[in-house]
Amino acid sequence: MPEETFLDRPIDRRSFIKGGMAFVSAATAMPPAFLRATFDDNSVPIAEVTKETAASLGRRVLVVLQLAGGNDGLNTVIPLGDRGYFTSRPGLAQNPESTLALSNGMALNGVMKGMKGLWDQQRMAVVLGVGYPNPNRSHFRAMDIWHTASTAEGFGNGWIGKLLDATAHEKDSAWRAANIGNELPRSLFADSVFVPSLSSIPAYVLSTDRKFPKDADRRLQTFAQINARYAEDAAVQAEYGGALAFVSQTGFEAYQSTVMLQADAKSYVAKATYPNTPLANAFKTAATLIMSRLGTGVVYITTGGFDTHAGQSGTQNRLLQTVSDAVGAFYTDLAAQEAADDVSTVMWTEFGRRIKENGSGGTDHGTSTPMFVIGGGVKPGLYGEQPLTSSPDSSGDLKYSTDFRQVYASIIEQRFGVASKDVLGQTYNTLPLFA
């Protein structure tokens, strides 16, 4: 791994940052006026810029939901016609009567009423039997494979990161892509695009001392002023080289983006009731970003707990209901905001679980599993083929019928109009997932 520094590899990042500054400055005649405008009135110039940016990007949004830990696909989308499912899982098999029928003998787990609603509204596709050759059963490794869309060893960029790199534009908003959570998933690792991670919108702020409310504005404006000066002062840059300019430009950008987010996010009012769960709150944050004209095109959400080696039944049902209710509320909200057709959500997990339940009322790491594609532009229905429990692979696990990269390629080409080979490194047969 080559060492990276400013001096060795600054150019992409810095020109990106510069692009960001240029985009901000474009709203005003010249930087000093812009700076003054920022200090005098936070909302006016920023709102203008955002509208322009949003328009230049179009409104297609991708939301990715990662179910970390390996969600048991067989108890999520249930093959009612597969006898082996019932005999392999005397304790865990779902009662057919409690399930929610899709089509072709497949049914959703009975707790997934929110997502069944989306199926009924023709907003949901389920891709059955998704996997890849020589499946890896380590969480760590399997997630990397899904994140990077590659089984090659190494620590490359993510597939969404590559998509962002491939479509980067100098007018991109600082909020073009966002990760909801504290840790940036590898899917979003990119060369030239920084993706902010936020735990919540209220948390993406510059905090100030509550005991001194009158000091708060002066303090933050002084912060911004010092950063802006270093960012623009050629003499300072000549003396200290790139590091100081980079830090101060980004510091100023941080100030800008938080002001932009806090000003714009205020205008959003949810038009659905979100359940009070961390995951539903994350979706509400996603809706806020999308509806706030910040130019956001990608939102990434991760939820965990699916590694159900023991006592699976209650745990998985609770998790699936949380997911289903959150996604349901998200689309109820988006539909009421007339944005449901703009926003596609894809849901994945690093592997499914074994066909047979284990001795602890759980299931161990397995292989293929369904993927869900929901919302904007989706042609509803079942895709792929449900693997039969009676014809497993050599390790006794479910075979796969569809490579997960076929789903990625379909999103990349059909939703974003980008040649998927440029992002995924090779060509995969697409599925007709989007209209």
């Binding site: 980079f246 830090v247 983006s257």
Partner: protein, 458 residues
């Protein structure tokens, strides 16, 4: 400008070869002079560190059994140690031999590796390599425990050359990787017996070393870097440690870590000579760098961006916030760095540009807020007015700005920013300490100093 006085040089030294400085720590080193300071930093055994060790021993949860405690113990050590360069080296080795607890899983293995880095920090590089090759955490992380005669695994052999000694594609070939992997086969991790623990609190046994399992070792003929024979791990490590390219690779990394971005050929030759003259002593390589003129040159000054660990723990240490470790863990994580959790075997970003993004800049500014807030928990916040009074900084806005700049960023602040901060405090003529305290400007000026761009540069 720049590093023109002993005071500035020692401040610079403590930013690079230490974790910043509190006023009293700075005074201790100033009394030793530059040369005396370097000698003391390089001789950790001569410095009593029992107070810091006692604090760590007093932690409620066993670092060997719990990831949070594992992290807290190292944070606490960095914040409180009297041997700052030793911890600097442990941090360097942790990054160089990057190993992540998320794959290793056992905090006990990670703690043992951390102890290994501390024991061998300044020792012979070949001995460090041997220690790492047989280290339980590394054997899990780079899969060498799975590397057996019947099914060789090249993961460790490859990184040993690519990341630990030579640099990618330098000197060695793919064939050398395969042959080295064979020579590294057969090692198994050994651990203590877990104590009988009815509460099940002790889950992770401590490692006791590694043993070579004869029937898993490939005893066949191998050819590594041109030498043929029934080679074993020692043969591979000896061969690697003896290469000038290894000395150059490590030397370059240390020059960059401590001094300048682009060491010249002549500088690299100097550290290579120190490496061989001292029989691979890391202490002598580091000494060569810290005592060089280049260490205090304009090129060396403020080019490096602090990592989150350097930024957060450095200022937590300088401000004396010993009770802040739960918070520092959250703070560094929000800035995208968690010790024991490097992003991969290549370690963290080396120049620092990747640390800086809008979110992480907010997190850094919010760190400054959290340590200066007037309503925070006592052990985790600094009382800004008290700090100023304790350092005699009460006279004027200019005196406060200059004094804090010296303490926080090593002085040398440009006149425009200096004026901005003086104005913020009420200006040259209107400043009144009591009033500035009442309206929050004393807390604010410390916040601005800790969050300003220069504070992020080492």
């Amino acid at each position: 400008m720049a590093l023109d006085t002993d005071r500035r040089k020692i401040q610079h030294l403590l930013r690079r070869a230490g974790w910043g400085y509190s006023p009293s720590e700075l005074n201790e080193y100033l009394a030793l002079g530059l040369k005396g300071s370097i000698d003391r930093l390089l001789s950790p055994d001569s410095v009593d560190d029992s107070a810091s060790q006692a604090l760590i021993a007093g932690l409620e949860t066993d670092p060997n059994q719990d990831r949070g405690a594992l992290l807290a113990a190292w944070h606490l050590r960095i914040i409180t140690t009297k041997r700052p360069l030793l911890e600097r080296m442990v941090y360097f080795w942790h990054d160089h031999f990057a190993t992540a607890v998320s794959k290793v899983e056992s905090p006990a293995f990670m703690q043992a590796q951390n102890d290994l880095f501390r024991t061998r920090a300044f020792g012979r590089f070949d001995e460090m390599l041997t220690g790492v090759a047989r280290d339980a955490a590394m054997m899990v992380f780079l899969d060498n425990r799975l590397n057996i005669r019947s099914a060789p695994n090249e993961n460790f052999a490859r990184e040993l050359m690519e990341l630990h000694t030579l640099g990618e594609g330098n000197v060695y070939t793919e064939k050398d990787i395969k042959e080295a992997a064979r020579a590294l086969t057969g090692w198994r991790i050994t651990t203590e017996e877990l104590p009988k623990d009815p509460m099940g609190k002790t889950k992770y046994p401590k490692p006791t070393g590694a043993v070579l399992v004869a029937n898993r070792f490939d005893a066949g003929k191998k050819t590594f870097l041109g030498v043929t024979g029934n080679l074993n791990d020692q043969d591979v490590i000896r061969a690697l440690a003896a290469l000038p390219e290894t000395a150059r690779f490590i030397g370059r990394k240390l020059w960059r870590y401590f001094a300048v971005a682009q060491p010249t050929e002549e500088m690299l030759a100097r550290t290579t000579k120190a490496y061989f003259d001292s029989k691979y002593s890391m202490r002598e390589v580091v000494r060569t760098i810290l005592t060089s003129d280049e260490m205090y040159s304009d090129e060396a000054y403020r080019w490096r961006i602090k990592s989150p660990v350097e930024y957060v723990l450095g200022y937590t240490r300088s401000l004396g916030l010993v009770g802040a470790t739960t918070r520092t863990i959250t703070q560094t994580r929000a800035m995208n760095q968690t010790l024991y959790e490097p992003p991969g075997p290549q370690g963290w970003s080396k120049g620092g540009a990747d640390w800086i993004a809008s979110t992480t800049m907010l997190a850094r500014a919010n760190f400054a807020y959290e340590v200066t807030r007037s309503d925070g928990p006592k052990a985790q916040v600094v009382d800004a007015p008290a700090l100023l009074r304790a350092n005699g900084l009460t006279v004027s806005a200019a005196q406060i700005v200059d004094g804090l700049a010296d303490l926080i960023i090593g002085g040398d602040i440009d006149s425009a920013t200096r004026q901005t901060l003086i104005d913020y405090l009420g200006g040259a003529t209107h400043f009144n300490f009591a009033e500035a305290q009442r309206n929050g400007a004393l807390h604010g000026v410390l916040y601005l100093m800790l969050s300003m761009p220069l504070a992020h540069l080492a």
